[in-house]
Symmetry: C2
Subunit: 428 residues, 2 copies
């Protein structure tokens, strides 16, 4: 499914090496074709994919049995022959759960396989104050409740993905480092799975990566093949979509924009290094600049509310606040230029507090980006504010579960008893 | 062909929309399968790709007629039935030409379709001093000669790709800006095509992008799916391979590492901005640091020789030279950390003068990278020196021509007179 969102888990990343994986890949190919091109008949699928018609029929039988597709009306083609029954993506009986854990809230987003939303809630917590053990217990409780709700809605979840603001070993489901949560080397997938009903696959991923996937699928610039998403909280994270795919890099540690070294003469960062981008554009720095005589900032509470306070002061013409957004906007543009020079996105989508203050930050940011990007305005990259609010990461997380199922449809539902598990033998 | 080099031009980037494009895509699929998995029979190709056997036979007939594959022996499988004839990639009758133009040389690299080298030469020129018109005339002359040589060798070229150190609009074949050549808005593909035999497709691309493709295909870390290549001349450019594909970005302006803003308090760059990475790690800066009392540097001539001079001084224990490589190495590591934080490559391959001085630069560079990368040594990214010397960009350029042919095999040779141009009708 080239150009499709969440394509990191499509089977095309591995050449089928045996009949079983070929079967899985072909199941995925058929369902991906329906997802991408819309309802159509078996014959049309065969013609368009180049798969043998008998193979398509057998694949469709299995997808029908797993209730991932359903039949819907007849297709009247211009050619001779009787009309074919049209197949369409179903998935109403399969659920997907995404949960974001952040410093002061849990975001929960449950959908069915066609991305129809079934659950959406935000739960205040003090994840950093609670310590890893209690935070994971709270997370498990919220997940159990959401799983029960999805099951009640007739769409038991095929999996759950958790979004975490930090460095994630996606393969092992381990949080290597989440500074704002105070987590280090936490085997989150394992801990969470132990607290959930057996056999629910649990994945853990970076919040900005998942939010970027959500922006690519549902956001204001959905479908833009080259975009960067920036989280704007105390910490600043990034998710990079390149050519319609999430850029993960060799270990999944891509998009760590917050600690780009941008000013050797700058201030010390929470990470111990000097002049990280986060010390220039994080919310704590904006608050510090806007209130130079105020108390030294420690943990910033209620980032959403603090940003709105600044917005009110800006509306009132407060000079310190105006100077602060101009300065932060300028550094936002400088970091944007680094992104443009390296990965040349079409759009940089601003999340978190950046989105709240976008109107105020953007003039300075865009001017600085255009000045510093080596291609100048020819790079045609613009900043835009996200409209997904605090749901982006959880939505993206649910989307990853959907993609897992579409990449390997054999993981859900019941196969037909007599379904061939290998393509019919061919002679000739 | 996921995970294959030069995959930006594979047909999978566009879903086939009609029978002709499906035919092209399937021809490419069959030849790509042979390239990736090695010689095999029609029956094996059908089984492994899921294509109908009759379709594979028809596709193979066309590839045979176009002399892109040939038959070579029999395949004895364990199953019943008579042995199938084995097919293998041929392409000895199709040439591919890559040419790099740089400040003081032209690099020429001609191959056949199986990447067997047929021509390799380096021609000294003064591209910057000559001005665009004369430089393009020299380039055209060298290309014409190489095309004639390839034709004489029995492999007339299917196309030529020119590597240029600058910002390229690949779509139009225009050099937007090549500061070290003194070019701006030069429609190079058009100019060159006008000076060549008709119907030779001409493409223009960024030198570092093409060199990165060559590293991925032939270099010391060939096959590494996530790598960055750095050119090290007076200017510094980058090419990013991500997940086995060249990262081009929205407009093809990716990898512009030379002008990353890394030091707001730094010196003025040739581009007019301040503190660009090039002002910290370019060869001119190394020479300036190594000879603080010397004449102010203008254009650096013979970068290769100048780097070797520094190497000799280092071997002799020259303190200024030692301090210079330590300082440049440190900044090399800082820029490496930006790359690692953003795109998380496994390896950063050093070209140009960086490769010549690699042993001297790497200790400081690697230490600084490990310190500044937010994942630290967990990101496991190392610097390595390229061994492709000055041929990397031209090799990559020839590879792009090969890939164009493999992506659309109908562009070369003669199709069989009776070859069906659409798949055989299917009943059933």
């Amino acid at each position: 499914m080239p150009g499709r969102p969440h394509s990191t888990v499509t089977p095309e990343s591995a050449a089928p090496t045996d009949q079983l994986s070929l079967r899985r890949a072909n199941l995925s190919r058929v369902i991906g074709h329906l997802r991408e091109h819309g309802p159509r008949s078996r014959a049309t699928i065969a013609a368009e994919t180049g798969l043998h018609k008998a193979t398509v029929s057998s694949l469709v039988d299995e997808l029908l049995a797993r209730r991932l597709v359903r039949e819907a009306g007849l297709e009247h083609s211009g050619t001779a022959g009787r009309p074919g029954r049209v197949l369409t993506l179903d998935g109403a009986t399969v659920g997907a759960l995404g949960v974001e854990i952040n410093v002061d809230y849990l975001g929960v987003h449950g959908t069915d396989l066609a991305n129809r939303p079934l659950i959406q809630r935000r739960i205040p917590i003090d994840a950093a104050g609670a310590g890893p053990e209690r935070a994971v217990a709270r997370l498990a409780e919220a997940v159990r409740r959401a799983l029960a709700d999805l099951a009640r809605a007739g769409a038991p979840a095929a999996g759950v993905t958790v979004a975490v603001p930090g460095l994630i070993d996606v393969e092992r489901g381990t949080v290597l480092l989440a500074p704002n949560l105070g987590w280090r080397d936490l085997p989150l997938a394992e801990r969470l799975a132990a607290a959930l009903p057996a056999r629910i696959p649990v994945r853990v991923d970076n919040d900005a990566n998942l939010a970027a996937l959500a922006e690519y699928t549902y956001g204001v610039v959905a479908g833009t093949a080259d975009l960067v998403y920036l989280t704007g909280e105390v910490g600043v994270g990034g998710g990079l979509i390149v050519g319609g795919r999430l850029l993960r890099g060799a270990d999944g540690y891509s998009g760590e924009v917050g600690h780009l070294p941008v000013d050797p003469a700058g201030r010390r960062c929470g990470c111990g290094r000097t002049g990280c981008w986060e010390t220039k554009v994080g919310l704590a720095e904006l608050l510090r600049l806007a209130s130079p005589t105020g108390p030294p900032g420690g943990q910033v509470r209620d980032p959403d509310q603090r940003a709105r306070e600044i917005d009110r002061r800006l509306a009132a013409g407060d000079p310190a606040a105006l100077a602060a957004v101009a300065e932060v906007g300028r550094w936002l543009g400088l970091g944007g230029a680094i992104l443009v020079n390296l990965v040349n996105p079409r759009v940089i989508v601003l999340g978190g507090y950046f989105a709240i203050l976008a109107d105020r930050l953007l003039p300075a940011a865009q001017a600085e980006l255009d000045r510093l990007a080596v291609a100048g305005p020819a790079a045609r990259c613009r900043f835009v504010a996200s409209n997904l609010g605090f749901t982006a990461a959880a939505r993206g997380a649910a989307g990853v579960v959907v993609d897992r199922v579409l990449a390997d449809p054999t993981t859900v539902g019941t196969p037909p008893v007599d379904a061939p598990r290998v393509p019919p033998a061919r002679t000739g």
